[in-house]
Symmetry: C2
Subunit: 155 residues, 2 copies
DNA sequence: GTCGATGCAAACGTTTTGCACACTG
DNA sequence: CAGTGTGCAAAACGTTTGCATCGAC
């Protein structure tokens, strides 16, 4: 689990071309798979799985392999442009690091609620004072039951 | 994801035989794999993976298949005796439902800190008031950086 | 021309499933 | 004897890797 200082903090990465410039700065090359993948990430919904992204990319470049998508996602994550989170037992979802947030996911219906980081500041403080632990609340969702499902089955 | 009222709340399930009685009540049968697995769960460390449990069981009954362990774990979880949690990207860990707690897991060294539920009551209240969401903080660990790793790489 | 990126297929680790047989109650 | 549980093998699933080739610079 090698870590790289997220270069995206030092650069403007608010457009596809910004990110491609960053990639090039780090010795990477600008390929069409990469550009199309980034366009899918910037244009598409917020929580896309690798497979969904591959499908989108493949509508424009049918020969792009799923493994290429994974390798590009990995690289973009290493550069600090992307982040992935686990919303449940299925595949991971990817999104731009700039829009990172926390999630509550319903165990019954799978609904994902996006929560502002501030909800977690209390927990962050407790974890820090009790254990010296610095939480990163983005990576795994917090499971539970959404309002609708609570209402539906009572209790 | 069908759910059954956790019968374990209505029964004493503090011994292997208690659980086996519960299993029998629900139409299940008492097999030696099941008994040995339960003994491993009651006697062993708190966070055991299916594979670890299988290994323990196999020291006493070498022919017990990993799939049998999974099927028994699933059944015991359905009965509310067990719970599994995900402490990171690897295999799930199983433990008796009675001893459920929350986890902080270090992304750097993998250390797992067990946290009392009370740490999460603030977050639980916020989630409830903001979203009507009832959290179950046990299932997924909260990732972050442990005290040792924070000290080691500064920041 | 160098070296990073890609496609394909195969491997991976974890978990689930199909099926014929064995056992509990 | 009914029907649950089991062993084994294979599949499923998401993800990673090996390798020969391709393509950006």
């Amino acid at each position: 689990m090698s870590r790289v200082a997220p270069a995206s903090h030092l650069h403007d990465v608010s457009t596809v071309e910004d990110v491609l410039a960053l990639v090039r700065e780090h010795g990477g090359r600008i390929t069409s798979s990469r550009r199309i993948l980034l366009e899918a990430l910037f244009a598409g919904p917020e929580h896309q799985t690798a497979e969904e992204l591959a499908t989108v990319v493949q509508t424009r470049a049918p020969d792009v392999a799923l493994s290429t998508v994974y390798r590009n996602l990995e690289e973009l994550e290493r550069l600090g442009v992307l982040v992935h989170s686990h919303l449940g037992h299925g595949p991971a979802t990817y999104h731009l690091a700039a829009g990172a947030h926390c999630h509550f996911v319903c165990q019954e219906c799978g609904a994902a609620v996006e929560a502002p980081d501030e909800l977690f500041t209390g927990l962050a403080r407790s974890a820090r004072t009790h254990f010296g632990f610095e939480i990163d609340p983005h990576h795994f969702a917090v499971l539970g039951r959404c309002a609708a499902c609570c209402a539906a089955d009572g209790g």
